[in-house]
Amino acid sequence: MEQRKSPVRGSAAGQLSFPNSDSRSAPHNPQRPARFHLSGPPYLLSSFSGFSPAPVQPASLLPCFFSSLEGISPKTISNIGGLHQMLSLHQHIFAAVPRDSIIALPEHDSTNKYGASFQTPGGRLLIKPAEYVELVSSMKPDFWVTLADEVPAWVSDKRNRTSVDRTLRWLDDCLSLNKTGTTIFGSIVGGSSIEERHRCAQEVAQRNVSGYWIGGFGLGESMDERAALLTAVTDNLPEDMPRHVSGLGLPEEVLQGVAAGIDLFDSTYVYHLTLGGFALTFPLERNKGDNADYQLSDSGGDDMKINLKATIYRKDTSPIVESCNCFTCQNHTKAYLNHLFNVHEMLAQTLLEIHNTHQYLGFFCSIRKAIEEGKFEQFRRNFVESRRECLFAAASSD
């Protein structure tokens, strides 16, 4: 088992370690363990993690790049000592990624040859590679991703090709501007064109980077076409380097990514679930034929999640998930959370996010375990099929 340690701060051996893939059960599906990145802007994560009474296991955080700049200058962040100091999260790993699907949305129409454009609450921002590198250096993340021109699936071929050319050029710019020798992940785009994905991946694989960030997903492509696009990229990347994807959040999407050889994920899945009052409830040990008690039509949920705002929970004195040992499930009931949501108290979000994050991290733990035991494909199959069964049962029970 080969261990590769990336030079990350404060990590014990094995923080980013990648055992060899075990026997390949299917072509293009090396089994790799996935670590987990939490999603979204520092707001989101800060809202619980700066703060959560029972800290979630150390995991990586991806601050929203631009939103963290509103109201605080790079110089001040630098004076404070970087992100770890500012957020007082010393055990965590930070990665700086330009895209954040809540606060900084890539505006491919406005991106031009000078820089990438983002729509933020403070207006539209154009960021050039030099500015980007400067911002990143003030944050002192453990690793960072080069500036990319991300485009959605429906752009023209020409626009797509341009995005690849630009991304490669900016990658080279970022590399040459990287004076302090920090850890860089090269960005790979290519939209929904297999050829462009190949091209971009091959080019980036030739650069001197420590890992790969695969962008342009979660922006309009379907799950079906994505599988081929992912492998078009990962087939061209060296085995022993980490691969990180943004924008794949649904458990099925994560499983798809893992099957294609992705190691690190970030998305806004937990954030959006929490906003809507949804609590993750899927059992982490998924066995075929496990007939959970599905409360579907009344609860507005399914076997994966429940909506705590639903009136059936008004008097429910059980925790969100019985066996869960997160702070929220250990201390509070669905009835209390239901009340907090109904009266729009901010504690509702805090408590729910603690649970959802815990649950989601647990999912990744299960994935890693399945891979270690050589049972990933089975795990994936079971998971997807139980989900389908449940939806089928719901549809036919009406």
């Binding site: 707001y43 800060s46 809202s47 700066g50 703060f51 009474p53 029972a54 963290s68 509103e70 109201g71 605080i72 200058s73 110089k75 001040t76 004076n79 404070i80 500012m86 957020l87 007082s88 609450p121 008004r314 008097k315 004195t317 702070f327 201390n331 509070h332 009931t333 009835a335 209390y336 239901n338 009340h339 907090l340 109904n342 009266v343 108290e345 901010m346 504690l347 979000q349 805090t350 408590l351």
Partner: protein
């Protein structure tokens, strides 16, 4: 009676005591944060324990509306519902009604108002208020009083005071759980010492577990405010807790404690947090100010709370208008400040250094010696020599 009140130390009128309630053993003087709807905005119960909160206040009006007192009762009471292991206090609901609702009207029967849910005419009687509070299950419950603002003058004040006395008997009669919940009476009477005196006597006759001084903290001038507190604390029994409702600013709490009060509640620390203001020994710090954007010091370098140990002013500044976490962090710090103030008041009295504590407090808050006159007057009555902090007196 479901409490024990034992005075552990004194300085003239000020006292430090141990207040034993069904759910918690408290030390007074103490400040109670307001957790209106069964939660203190955004803080978890662990954090509240960390901060040192002893009693939390819940608003009967809000809880009766959502999730309803019947539901709370069915699920085992508010302590269990919130999972708060320490003490709780509920108010009567009367004040909220009068201040939050249009067309609320007070008659002998009770408070009539329009239901905010469907506009139907409703009536909150003393009996109903107590029943709701019995269902909620707090350690201390408040009598329904006829509260008028001290800025009003005329016969209404006298009417309200006598009605409060009539209603206390109805509250006592309606109270089904005197062995688990302590019913406090509330002294009314506006700014009129004669009326206040009648009210105090009337309530003391009923031999209640504790007494509150109500109708203040509503815009009256400070000089009148402290005099009412002084009069009431002098007349209320020594061996029962005295609660000044709606107070307040740290300075007010120090003065009232010097005059012999024990318990306080106010939305100020948490509300001001949501507007970006932090409480510090010198007064307040406005985190929204541009000057904070590059200030990498903590809110208060001397403060030991989690917020001051981990975060800078600059970071909180950038959160404060945009993110819930900004107000959560400030609420945490502000409540920590209030709890520390409570602890310091208690321990300085017990350890026989109360006047020194008061002087240091005033010197820090008024470094130029410009202590307000009302404070000087109050301290004189309290028998505390603050000449070292007052500019006028120095000369």
């Amino acid at each position: 009676m479901a409490l024990k009140f034992e005075v552990l130390g004194r300085f003239n009128r000020a006292r430090a005591a141990q207040l034993t309630l069904p759910h918690y053993l408290c030390q007074t003087p103490l400040f109670m944060p307001v957790g209106t709807q069964g939660t203190i905005k955004g803080l978890t119960k662990n954090q509240l324990e960390e901060i040192g909160c002893q009693i939390i206040l819940g608003n009967t009006y809000h809880l009766a509306l959502r999730p309803t007192s019947e539901l709370i009762d069915e699920l085992g009471g508010l302590h269990k519902f919130m999972n708060w292991p320490r003490a709780l206090l509920t108010d009567s609901g009367g004040f909220q009604m009068v201040s939050l609702l249009h067309l609320a009207d007070i008659t002998e029967k009770g408070v009539t108002f329009q239901s905010p849910v469907d506009g139907k005419p409703m009536l909150l009687t003393p009996e109903e208020s107590i029943q709701i509070q019995n269902r909620i299950g707090a350690d201390i419950i408040m009598a329904l009083d006829d509260v008028v603002r001290t800025t009003i003058t005329g016969p209404r004040i006298e009417e309200a005071m006598y009605r409060t006395l009539r209603w206390i008997d109805r509250c006592i009669a309606a109270h089904k759980r005197p062995n688990e919940q302590n019913l406090f009476g509330i002294v009314q009477g506006g700014l009129d010492p004669v009326l206040r005196d009648i009210c105090v006597r009337g309530l003391v006759e009923r031999n209640l577990p504790g007494y509150a001084i109500g109708g203040l903290a509503g815009g009256e001038d400070k000089d009148s405010f402290w005099r009412v507190v002084a009069q009431c604390t002098a007349a209320l029994p020594e061996d029962k807790p005295r609660y000044v409702m709606g107070v307040g600013y740290p300075l007010d709490i120090v003065v009232c404690s010097a005059l012999g009060a024990d318990m306080y509640d106010c939305v100020y620390p948490t509300r001001t947090a949501r507007f970006g203001t932090a409480l510090v020994p010198e007064g307040v710090l406005k985190l929204k100010h541009q000057a904070m954007a590059n200030d990498i010091r903590p809110i208060d370098p001397m403060c030991e709370c989690m917020v001051c140990k981990n975060y800078t002013r600059a970071y909180i500044h950038c959160l404060v208008t945009k993110d819930a976490m900004g107000s959560q962090l400030l609420s945490y710090h502000n409540l920590y400040y209030m709890m520390k103030l409570s602890r310091d008041l208690h321990s300085s009295i017990v350890e026989g250094r109360f006047p020194e504590f008061v002087c240091k407090f005033l010197q820090t808050m008024f470094p130029k010696g410009d202590v307000p006159e009302w404070v000087c007057n109050a301290m004189e009555v309290a028998g505390i020599d603050i000449s070292s902090c007052c500019h006028e007196m120095k000369v």
